[in-house]
């Protein structure tokens, strides 16, 4: 295929974000939820790079992208830590068992 690079990246972004969102809607495992979140954010990171490419501010875009990766890693760590605690206290990582707070 001889598609222009930005278009390929755009399609990749949609795939990543879409997959992430889809997994969030479907999955029942907490770890998969965290992974799905990571997918979405990586899509966003790519979006930054694409934006930087399109408007010529590549340096800024790269800085932004790196910062996002760092920030998001922290969120993922916290999320996984909570998942570990949940596994410890309730013995399960299933979302359905995590629905005691409702109505």
């Amino acid at each position: 295929m001889n598609l222009p690079l930005p278009l390929i990246i755009l399609i990749t972004i949609f795939c990543l974000a879409g997959t992430g969102l889809y997994c969030l809607l479907i999955t029942r495992n907490l770890i998969k939820v965290v992974i799905a979140l990571q997918l979405m954010v990586k899509g966003a990171v790519l979006a930054f790079i694409l934006a930087g490419n399109l408007n010529g501010q590549m340096n800024t875009a790269q800085t932004l992208a790196l910062t996002v990766i760092v920030a998001d890693t922290i969120v993922a760590v916290v999320g996984l830590a909570l998942a570990v605690q949940i596994r410890l206290r309730t013995g399960s990582l299933d979302i359905k068992s995590l629905s005691s707070l409702k109505r």
Partner: protein
């Protein structure tokens, strides 16, 4: 000096509320004394203020553009109502020292009563619409807190919340009106609004007129908002006398009276006001006839008499309505306090369990009879003069069929009053009750009120001057002397009304011979006991809201996937809106 008096009338009760609350419930006697002192000081200040009534703004506290200037104007209408609020307030407080003896949480009781008195004075003395609404809502809180004073009684709590909600729903009319007035005239000053009413676009003026009517109807328990007042009778009797007879329920009538010059030309407004007033009058009169709870009869009677006042305003005579407000405050407070003495002594509110109370409590019997005669509108008592003035005004200013209806209501009033007095004070006791003696402070309060019911009408001259053009520039109320009143009232229509009233009383005593008729009207009796469907409406409203709320709870599923779906869905909806919106 005027400023000082106003500050005393609002500030002293409010300060008193704080102090009595802080004194603590362990020092009951001190609380009683302090409450009496604070309320008497406020009452004295209001009487001192009477000669200084003026239409000038005497207090002006600037608060910046959004909130207007906090202004106070001691004009005739305001001063008159503040006298009623503070004087009947202090009488109610004095009565409470006996009625509430030994009750728990007295600090809370007196604090809210004093807070209420100050707020009522503020309500009628201010000319800033924001402050009118401010004090309006404060009186609503105090009324709620005092109705639900016995928090452990679910009926009392329900009654309190019902009163709060219904009057607040009506209050939205006042809220919207005040805001729109500011938006169109640039000021919250009600007198400026009345003067500039001609410059406001007609549809906006209609909105304001009907919005204020809704607010007034809700506050004064008029049709279709009358259901809260009978349930508010769970409050201690001094509260029923003060708040739900003499002062707060008059706030609606006050609002209509004050804004009448601005709205009198709005199409259909006067007609609507008259219809609201007369419907309330007749519905409540019928319901009073079938009620067995002594305070409920008086509550319905209040709704009915307020209906007269509202009717008078619609017919164009603000003076007649205020004069009746004057008489009504006195005799209704008298009746409620008398009822309170009976209830406190006997221990029940059900008239069917009473009978022959007059033998045990002769003083209460006599003052209650005086109050009832005033309510029924018999000559010489203040109720007669003011009610006749209203009927005169209605005859001249409104449709004849409404006038006839109001005369019939006068007859019904006499009928239910006679029934009430008879069932309670005369005949033989229907149950074995024990009558505790009536406390001294109760007697001390009842006697002046009875005397006032006999003679207050003679003050019509100075009263009309107080409300005259000197203090209420837009209202065109002229000084009316006693002689003029005699002349106006001692005419044929009055005679007809008197005959109808006599007929009403007579009907009660002939009831055994009218068995057939009473049986025939059984269906009306049933409808009246069910408050003509209004209670059912209220309950339906509440249930529908609660069911919707309960159903909505289902959206909080607790499952993460659904939560994320909600986020995704909102995003999609917004995108669609953007695309479609173009």
């Amino acid at each position: 000096m005027t400023i000082a008096m106003i500050a005393v009338m609002i500030g002293v009760p409010w300060l008193g509320a704080l102090i009595v609350w802080l004194v603590g419930d362990s020092r009951e006697k001190l609380q009683h004394w302090l409450a009496v002192i604070f309320s008497v000081v406020a009452g004295a200040a209001s009487i001192v203020l009477i000669p200084s009534a003026t239409s000038e703004t005497v207090v002006k506290i600037p608060m910046g553009g959004t909130f207007g200037d906090f202004t106070f104007v001691p004009d005739g209408l305001g001063v008159f109502l503040s006298v009623i609020a503070t004087v009947i307030g202090c009488l109610a407080v004095i009565f409470s020292t006996s009625y509430m003896k030994g009750e728990a949480s007295l600090g809370r009781y007196y604090a809210f009563v004093l807070f209420f008195i100050g707020a009522m004075v503020g309500l009628v003395l201010t000319s800033n619409l924001l402050l009118i609404f401010f004090f309006w809502e404060i009186t609503a809180i105090c009324s709620y807190a005092l109705i639900a004073f016995h928090n452990d009684d679910p009926k009392a709590v329900r009654g309190g919340i019902k009163a709060l909600i219904i009057t607040s729903v009506g209050g939205v009319g006042l809220l919207a009106g005040a805001l729109v007035i500011f938006a169109y005239t640039g000021s919250y000053d009600i007198n400026a609004f009345i003067g500039a009413a001609g410059t406001i676009p007609a549809n906006i003026l209609s909105l304001l007129a009907f919005g204020f009517l809704i607010a007034a109807a809700a506050k004064s328990a008029q049709f279709p908002f009358q259901t809260w007042l009978p349930d508010a009778m769970e409050a201690p009797s001094p509260i029923s006398a003060l708040i739900h007879a003499a002062t707060m329920v008059n706030a609606g009538v006050y609002l209509l009276a004050r804004t009448f010059p601005a709205f009198q030309n709005v199409p259909y407004w006067r007609e609507a006001v008259m219809v609201v007033g007369s419907l309330s009058a007749i519905l409540a009169a019928v319901m009073a006839l079938t009620a067995n709870d002594l305070k409920r009869v008086l509550a319905y009677s209040t709704v009915s008499q307020l209906g007269y006042m509202v009717y008078a305003i619609g017919a164009g005579s603000v003076f007649a309505s205020q004069f009746h407000l004057f008489s009504h405050s006195i005799f209704k407070a008298l009746l409620f306090l008398g009822a309170g003495a009976v209830i406190h002594s006997i221990g029940t509110r059900d008239m069917m369990e009473m009978g022959g109370v007059g033998k045990k409590l002769p003083l209460v019997k006599w003052v209650f009879i005086i109050g009832s005669l005033a309510l029924a509108g018999l000559p010489v008592l203040n109720g007669f003069w003011s009610k006749e003035l209203i009927l005169e005004a209605g005859f001249k200013g409104g449709p004849t069929w409404l006038y006839v209806l109001m005369v019939i209501v006068a007859g019904l009033t006499a009928l239910y009053t006679a029934r009430c007095v008879w069932l309670v004070f005369f005949g033989e006791p229907r149950t074995d009750y024990h009558a505790h003696p009536v406390g001294l402070s109760m007697k001390v309060v009842l006697i002046p009120l009875a005397l006032a019911a006999l003679v207050s009408w003679t003050a019509v001259g100075p009263f009309s001057e107080l409300l005259g053009s000197h203090t209420l520039p837009y209202h065109n109320i002229e000084r009316t002397s006693l002689a003029e009143i005699f002349h106006e009232i001692l005419t044929l229509p009055t005679l007809i009304t008197l005959i109808v009233i006599a007929l009403g009383i007579l009907l009660w005593f002939m009831r055994s011979r009218l068995e057939g008729l009473i049986n025939g009207l059984r269906s009306i009796r049933w409808a009246s006991e069910k408050s003509f469907g209004f209670e059912a409406l209220n309950t339906a409203f509440v249930e529908v809201t609660e069911n919707i709320a309960e159903a909505l709870r289902g959206t909080q599923t607790g499952i993460l996937n659904w939560n994320v779906l909600a986020i995704a869905a909102s995003l999609i909806v917004l995108f669609v809106v953007v695309v479609v919106g173009g």
